[in-house]
């Protein structure tokens, strides 16, 4: 033990677990290897593509003539392509990969029916590919996050059904009565997604609702996807990774219960606050604003729970990549929610509605919160699938700092630029174009942040590629960010 009394060994080893239990875990991990790696590999490929598209989008915003004569590279097509690649290609696939691994671990049974998952991954990739191709060729439907044309949406849904039915089957084979917190969130995510997706598709395309209700359904879908699908996966993952890495149980089970149910109840009612002052009955918007404010309850309980669990163990973030990414993500959840509340208040929304600030909000949720947690889980899971440890601590550090600074800078730029844009827009004595001029420096700053993020993603993809090729370290000790031996050698 080192001076702070922190267990710096591989937590699983330090856990009071018999050899059989360890063997069992290794056995379960091995059984998840092929499907999870399939999901991870595809998601990282999509991440790289989405990053390149993002750079293009960001750059074109202040240099509009860049390659604008080519129909499939016009800004208005590349932007939804970027969003959908990130949402369905990267985030959904990476989230499902992590969720599958967690499910197998927490059901304490070897992964059964791997073919369902393999087929699911293939179909999902096909769906995203067709969808993005369709958008670039001009088949976009025009609804935020539901731009995929019908033929792609169907394939996605089939793929999803395969994965979800696997999840249900796994639940039937689970051992033990106790359902851990993570499983609540994962089961929720696996059930919410198909309901959301089919409700969105049905009410927009199959039996379309009338007029502005389409926008209401669209934003209801988009916000719920953010909370009930991505948010639920990320929170569930954080509830697993944080206690696991520091080798300490979750602080309070009761807080977790309150957090989960209030999260499910309130966050599902958000969405309409993004249409403040729009052509809707006022109660719809007010209800969503109220729900957004009430999401402070799950934020407070989940945040408190994680904080108390981590209490005294924060120095571990110096060493464990998983912990560092996960805690960053968990903290971002609080920031994301607080900013969500602030920009939904009517008096503020008047200024930030229709500006870049709403882009900042989406990125906070999908990147600073969700993606960072998922990166953390990948640093934990991939070595257990491959049997090698991450090769370079330096690359992990670079990845973390480039991501953290990148997303921080991007959020600041978009929030500040968006707010100033809104102030200008609300001042009718200024020409409208002034409000755009005002944002341009911030958009350039955002492009800079994008370069950082691009670098971080390429570093991560390279590192992951090394792992796939079996070039990781062979060692029994996980890769720590900073050398542990020097400080901790006295102990064991």
């Amino acid at each position: 033990m080192n001076a702070t009394g922190i267990p710096l060994k591989e937590p699983e080893v330090s856990a009071v677990a018999g050899d059989t239990e360890q063997l069992e875990r290794a056995y379960i991990d091995a059984s998840t290897r092929v499907p999870v790696l399939m999901f991870y590999t595809s998601s990282i490929a999509w991440l790289i593509l989405g990053t390149l598209l993002a750079g293009f989008v960001s750059w074109k915003l202040h240099s509009p003539d860049l390659l604008s004569d080519i129909s499939f590279l016009t800004w208005g097509r590349v932007r939804p392509a970027h969003m959908n690649v990130m949402v369905y290609g990267w985030a959904s696939m990476a989230g499902m990969g992590t969720a599958i691994w967690l499910m197998a671990r927490l059901c304490r049974t070897v992964l059964r029916y791997p073919l369902l998952l393999v087929a699911g991954a293939c179909f999902w990739n096909l769906g995203v590919l067709l969808g993005v191709g369709g958008i670039l060729l001009g088949d976009s439907t025009g609804y935020q996050w539901l731009e995929f044309p019908g033929y792609a949406a169907i394939i996605l849904f089939v793929a999803y059904t395969l994965v979800a039915s696997w999840a249900v089957l796994m639940f039937r084979y689970r051992r033990g009565d106790q359902i851990y917190i993570t499983q609540w969130y994962l089961l929720g995510a696996f059930l919410w997604f198909p309901w959301l997706y089919s409700a969105g598709q049905l009410m927009l395309f199959v039996v379309p609702v009338q007029g502005v209700l389409q926008s209401a359904v669209g934003w209801w879908y988009a916000n719920n996807l953010l909370f009930l699908w991505f948010g639920a996966i990320a929170l569930g993952t954080a509830y697993y990774m944080i206690p696991k890495v520091i080798g300490r149980p979750v602080y309070s089970y009761h807080l977790a219960t309150i957090g989960f149910w209030s999260y499910a109840l309130f966050s599902s009612w958000t969405g309409m606050q993004r249409l403040v002052d729009g052509p809707f009955p006022a109660w719809m918007i007010t209800a969503s604003i109220a729900a957004t404010i009430l999401t402070m309850i799950p934020v407070a309980t989940v945040g408190l729970n994680h904080h108390m669990t981590m209490q005294g163990y924060f120095p571990l973030m110096r060493y464990s990549p998983t912990l560092r990414f996960t805690v960053f993500g968990a903290m971002s959840y609080t920031v994301f929610s607080v900013i969500g509340v602030l920009i939904s208040l009517r008096s503020v929304a008047r200024y930030v509605n229709f500006t870049q600030a709403s882009i900042a909000y989406s990125h906070l949720g999908l990147y600073a919160f969700f993606t960072m947690v998922i990166f953390g889980s990948m640093y934990y899971i991939v070595p257990r699938l491959i049997g090698r440890e991450w090769r370079y601590a330096s690359l992990i550090k670079l990845h973390f700092w480039a991501s953290a600074y990148g997303i921080g800078l991007m959020t600041l730029m978009l929030l500040a630029g968006g707010f100033l844009q809104g102030v200008d827009m609300q001042n009718p004595t200024l020409a409208f174009s002034e409000s755009i001029e005002t944002t341009l420096p911030y958009l350039r700053g955002r492009s800079l942040a994008g370069i950082l993020l691009t670098a971080s993603h390429f570093i991560f993809a390279y590192h992951f590629g090394l792992m796939l090729l079996g070039l990781g370290r062979t060692s029994t000790v996980p890769t720590f960010l900073n050398p542990v031996e020097a400080e901790a050698s006295g102990g064991h």
Binding site: W75, G138, W195, G211, A216, W269, D277, G278, P281, I436
Partner: protein
């Protein structure tokens, strides 16, 4: 937590609660709106749109216009939208009942265009329902029966009847009578803009002119270009946004246009391009059918018709007439 059943029920319950609350109940409340009309059953607003409008909406979706342009005017107490002349009243659910998909939008990297059709020079302003290119399809010109039912919608394609009155359009724009002078032989004026003809019609209707003349609630620009927000203007703007506004950061949509050699005579709908955008001698730039549909769609975006659900902005500072800018409420319906 023990047992799957309570967990499952809770997950399902919270979702169903939100689904019912935010989509089903609103659908019950505002999901089956009908157009409004006055007591005689005329002056119906809004009205179904033409096929070109619908295709234009698909072009709008395909090229992601929604990511920069909103189509919703906020109320005067909430925002400066009305002061910015983006509309004369706030948008209401009823304005959108015939639109599929609806493009409310969430971002304004460009202006709000809920009323871009109403902001065209008076002669071209298509009353809300008039789908372009199908003049016949707009029976009794929805909003302003008196004001020239026929040629209005034809903003894009139909060649106007010979302009017999060079119409000192009492209208606003000095340039309007013949924005296309350079090439076209005299009477076949203005391929893309039926303005002279429409202006005539507008003249003929005493009701229409006052508003269009005095009104000018929308900006009208001069300087050799087609009148602002006319169909011809839209084409030039889509083709080369920075030729009109140097600060614009809108991408150009040249892929919706075709550059071709002039065969016999310059086509009627060729774009009026100047400077570096102008095609070389003997060439012309013409809109594709998609571009025409897109412009027809834009020209038909018009929420200026009064709605009983929503009060017009009476005292908005810059609005000259109480019923500011609504294209000639010809019927005696009181502007409110």
């Amino acid at each position: 937590m023990k047992g799957l059943a309570p967990l499952f029920l809770g997950i399902f319950g919270t979702f169903a609660f939100s689904w019912v609350g935010l989509t089903v109940i609103p659908n019950w409340q505002i999901g089956h709106l009908n157009p409004q009309s006055d007591e005689e059953g005329t002056d119906i607003y809004p009205q179904p749109q033409s096929g070109m409008f619908e295709r234009g909406a698909r072009v709008y979706a395909a090229n992601g216009c929604i990511y920069c342009h909103s189509q919703q005017v906020r109320a005067d107490y909430a925002a400066a939208d009305i002061e910015r002349k983006w509309g004369n009243r706030r948008s209401a659910p009823r304005d959108y009942i015939f639109e599929q998909p609806v493009f409310l939008g969430k971002m304004r990297m460009g202006q709000d265009i809920a009323n871009i059709g109403a902001r065209a020079p008076a002669e071209q302003a298509s009353p809300a329902p008039a789908g372009a290119a199908a003049p016949a399809a707009s029976p009794s010109g929805g909003t302003s029966p008196a004001a020239s039912p026929a040629p209005q919608g034809a903003a894009v394609s139909s060649p106007p009847p010979p302009a017999n009155s060079p119409a000192t359009a009492p209208a606003t724009s000095p340039a309007s009578p013949a924005p296309k002078t350079p090439t076209s032989p005299a009477p076949a004026a203005a391929p893309a803009s039926p303005s002279p003809a429409a202006a005539t019609a507008a003249n003929a209707s005493p009701n229409a002119s006052p508003t269009s003349a005095a009104g000018a609630p929308w900006p009208v620009q001069t300087a050799g270009e087609p009148p602002m927000y006319s169909a011809a203007w839209h084409h030039v703007h889509l083709y080369s946004p920075r030729s009109i506004n140097g600060d614009s950061n809108m991408p150009s949509y040249r892929f919706l246009y075709e550059k071709r050699r002039i065969r016999d005579a310059r086509s009627a709908d060729a774009l009026q391009l100047t400077g570096s955008d102008a095609p070389p001698e003997g060439w012309e730039v013409v809109p594709s059918f998609d571009a025409k549909c897109l412009v027809a769609y834009l020209m038909a975006l018009n929420q200026s018709h009064p709605l009983n659900d929503v009060r017009l902005v009476g005292g908005a500072p810059a609005a000259p007439v109480p019923a500011a800018g609504s294209p000639a409420p010809a019927s005696p319906a009181p502007p409110k």
